[in-house]
């Protein structure tokens, strides 16, 4: 069978399940009494096992299988969940992630899992309850309770004895097929010998299972007999007491566990639906397809601009109306397409708790990671790029920011350090703040280092503000690590972070207070492709100014212009703001100054400036296009767009104009 067509689905789903296992493990570690997490982990591991076995990834299947054994023992109270177990489980998840990663990169997903398997096996071997391959079924308390509860629901419980033909060669395979049939009919709650023994062919020629099912006895008999090499099937009804008749000695935990098990038994139960409400309402779409949809739509937006222009020139009311309607519809369409590409930052954030856990363990620190606003949405293209810079900053905070527990105590701080990752929308931007309550940045140390590395000279060093000093750690070749540690300082500095974020059209700033912690603030555009802009004219040339950086436009009389140190300024609502003559700055040919100045007031953070242009053309949706590889960094130009008449207009980068 050609598995390639399923490979993509397999990879996606595996990743989801692994993430789920990760999340639940983290939760379970915090509260080892709540076995519902274990059940959730077990479910994911089980699905993973099935999927990888089907796809022929044996190492994956083997490892997940062993994980299942451990998890099963934990949820059946045969094993106490202690840190060591959680650690090994995390290790296994790591290995699984590596394997899935290798598969997604076209590899075969093979990895030496022997050591891990041994570790897992050793854990299970410590099981206090001996599970001998008995030929009879022991009805322990759990099974009893389970059975009585199902009896309350009017579901049958059968004890099924399956006898395979003595000539049967692949007993385990046959047994597997029988289990397959049984699992389709209902839920196997117990078997003798145990499932893993059966899978390893550690049984003679017969085995017994207890099945909870809605199916009738006859039908079951017939469907099991359909499996070849089955000699006989004996089905007996398990006599059970009704729950109401049971003594009330059932411990709380057992009851909870049972509830979980029964929930998983009937996949259509309401709890399940509540957990994954939209499972039937989504489809997976390859991002490439969305990209080509986006590209086509960009063309449409350009043509829309052209149509609008033509209809304005022709001044035909019917045409106007139609074009207006079309504009409105395509506007809605645009929102939908953009929304389709929006992904919650959660997809990036959710690997961080795990990472911080591991890092703090390695470094012997105690750190709590708080995540706020994980449901904030960002364009997929931005999401894909933002992960690495965040990892970098987070590692930085863990390694350099948070102090050792002892040091924190001496400083009168809480032993456990706090890192807060917060994402939120504001206007056309998404902000991601990374805050820690660690040592903060030492101004003197940073300055000294920058001086040593020749990043700045003595003279400038004295004039720098605190903020400017902090910015220095973004300079290339800078690392604040006293010594190179395993966590950071591997020769890759924070300059990479800054570059990546800026290449996305965003910015990053630092705030710090020595002894109290630091905050890195990242500002990102919501999307990278279509923006609203104001088109302006200068002589024969047209430029686009992103609406997001415009405060307003104004007409300024020459008499209102003042001079400060030879710099033109105006009084704008009580604030003195500098004027920038774009025509001079851009060397626009044949430019003449008219009787008054058309000024666009733009902002960058708190700062504002006025840009002098010839005239305003109007507001328009524009498609952002890059200037290409040949012209990578043109001053104050962030890209280009194609106007309705097919000509190119450059997009002005206001951030570069305001220092």
């Amino acid at each position: 069978m050609d598995m390639n067509q399923y490979l993509e689905v397999f990879i996606e789903e595996s990743k989801e399940h692994l993430q789920n296992v990760n999340d639940q493990l983290m939760l379970f570690e915090k509260n080892t009494n709540d076995l519902s997490y274990v059940n959730e982990i077990f479910r994911s591991a089980h699905t993973l096992k099935g999927m990888s076995a089907t796809m022929g990834f044996d190492d994956l299947a083997q490892l997940t299988h062993k994980m299942e054994n451990v998890l099963d023992a934990v949820r059946n109270h045969q094993l106490d969940a202690h840190t060591e177990i959680v650690d090994v489980l995390f290790e296994s998840v790591d290995a699984l992630e590596i394997m899935v990663q290798s598969i997604s990169e076209g590899g075969d997903g093979q990895l030496d899992v022997k050591l891990l398997v041994q570790k897992l096996q050793r854990i299970v071997a410590e099981e206090p309850v001996a599970q001998s391959a008995a030929s009879f079924i022991e009805y322990d308390e759990l099974v009893q309770t389970l059975l009585s509860q199902t009896a309350d629901q009017g579901v049958n419980a059968f004890e099924i004895t399956v006898q395979l033909e003595s000539t049967c060669l692949l007993k385990a395979a046959r047994a597997y097929m029988v289990f397959d049939v049984l699992e389709q009919a209902g839920d196997v709650i117990k078997s003798a010998p145990t499932v893993q023994d059966i899978e390893q062919e550690k049984f003679e020629s017969s085995f017994i299972v207890i099945l909870v099912t809605n199916e009738s006895q006859e039908k079951l008999q017939a469907s099991i007999m359909e499996v070849s090499e089955v000699e006989s099937v004996k089905i007996a009804v398990v006599p059970v007491k009704k729950e109401t008749e049971m003594e009330e000695s059932v411990s709380q935990e057992v009851a909870a566990a049972i509830q979980e098990v029964t929930v998983s038994a009937s996949s259509k139960s309401s709890v399940e639906e509540k957990k994954q409400p939209s499972i039937n309402k989504t489809i997976r779409v390859n991002i490439d397809r969305l990209d080509s949809l986006m590209n086509l739509f960009e063309e449409l937006v350009i043509d829309r601009g052209r149509l609008e222009q033509i209809s304005k020139e022709l001044n035909n009311s019917e045409l106007d109306e139609t074009v207006e309607r079309m504009s409105r519809i395509s506007g809605d369409l645009q929102t939908i397409i953009l929304n389709m590409r929006m992904v919650p930052v959660e997809t990036v954030f959710n690997r961080f708790p795990r990472m911080v856990r591991q890092l703090s363990k390695d470094l012997g620190k105690q750190i709590e990671l708080q995540i706020v606003g994980a449901d904030t949405e960002l364009d997929r293209t931005v999401i894909d790029e933002i992960g690495d810079p965040l990892v970098h900053l987070l590692r930085n905070a863990v390694d350099h920011g948070i102090e050792m527990p002892q040091a924190r105590l001496t400083k009168g701080k809480n032993e456990t350090g706090m890192i807060r990752l917060k994402a939120y929308h504001s206007g056309n931007h998404v902000f991601i703040d990374l805050e820690d309550d660690g040592a903060g940045i030492n101004r003197e140390k940073v300055l000294q280092k920058a001086l040593n590395r020749g990043i700045i000279d003595e003279k400038t060093a004295e004039t720098l503000t605190d903020k400017q000093v902090y910015e220095l750690i973004f300079a290339s070749g800078f690392s604040t690590a006293e010594q190179i540690s395993d966590v950071s300082g591997r020769g890759v500095g924070l300059d990479v972070v800054k570059n990546t974020i800026e290449s996305l059209g965003g910015s990053v700033t630092i705030d710090s207070s020595e002894g109290y912690g630091s905050r890195f603030s990242i500002q990102l555009p919501l999307t990278l492709s279509i923006i609203s802009a104001l088109l302006v004219q200068m002589s024969e040339e047209r430029y686009a100014l992103p609406l997001s950086s415009i405060i307003e436009t104004a007409i300024v009389q020459p008499k209102d212009i003042m001079h400060v140190h030879g710099q033109k300024v105006i009084d704008f609502r009580g604030a003195i703001i500098p004027l920038i003559d774009l025509k001079k700055l851009f060397n626009v040919p044949n430019s003449v100054q008219g009787n008054y100045y058309s000024v666009v007031i733009v902002k960058k953070g708190e700062k504002t400036a006025g840009l002098i242009v010839d005239s305003f053309i109007g507001q328009q949706e524009i498609v952002l296009k890059s200037l290409g590889h040949y012209l990578p960094a043109v001053f104050a130009i962030s890209g280009a767009t194609i106007l309705g008449d097919g000509q190119v207009a450059l997009i002005i980068d206001c951030n570069a104009l305001i220092k």
Binding site: I302, L585, V634, F635
Partner: protein, 142 residues
């Protein structure tokens, strides 16, 4: 080896067909401020913003107004796509690679670095362009 032959002043130049994407008529070029003077600006080439280089300026030749024969030769080098403004482009000729001779030390003020050789075809002398050097943003003349 096939080359596209184009005119620049009185000289004939050649560029390998493999490096040429297409030949376009001149169209509106949007000036980009603050770039090298030989980069005339960018055009919209079927939805892609493409930089345009004026070969005359690049080779320090007398600038000339565009006329109806003026063409833009779209070239591609690795991931760079650019257009070269030339006086005219109208011929494709086959040359024997063995007949390519090295460039004489001076050709009318054009730096030798921009050229990769000369070749004689039916009495015509064609100068071959060294595209990587022409597209390079470092200027050997400065």
């Amino acid at each position: 080896m096939k080359i596209i032959v184009f005119q620049l002043g009185d000289e004939e130049y050649g560029i390998s067909v493999e490096e040429v994407q297409s030949i376009e008529k001149i169209q509106h070029i949007t000036r980009v401020p603050g770039v090298k003077e030989y980069v005339k600006g960018v055009i919209n080439l079927r939805g892609v913003i493409t930089p345009i280089i004026d070969l005359r300026t690049r080779f320090k030749l007398q600038e000339q107004l565009n006329h109806e024969l003026t063409r833009i030769i779209m070239v591609r080098l690795n991931d760079i796509e650019a257009g070269l403004i030339v006086d005219a482009a109208n011929d494709v000729v086959d040359i024997d690679e063995k007949t390519i001779a090295s460039v004489p030390e001076t050709i009318e003020g054009i730096a030798v670095e921009y050229l990769s050789g000369v070749v004689k075809v039916d009495g015509r002398l064609i100068v071959l362009l060294n595209l990587p050097k022409v597209l390079s943003l470092e200027d050997p003349l400065q």
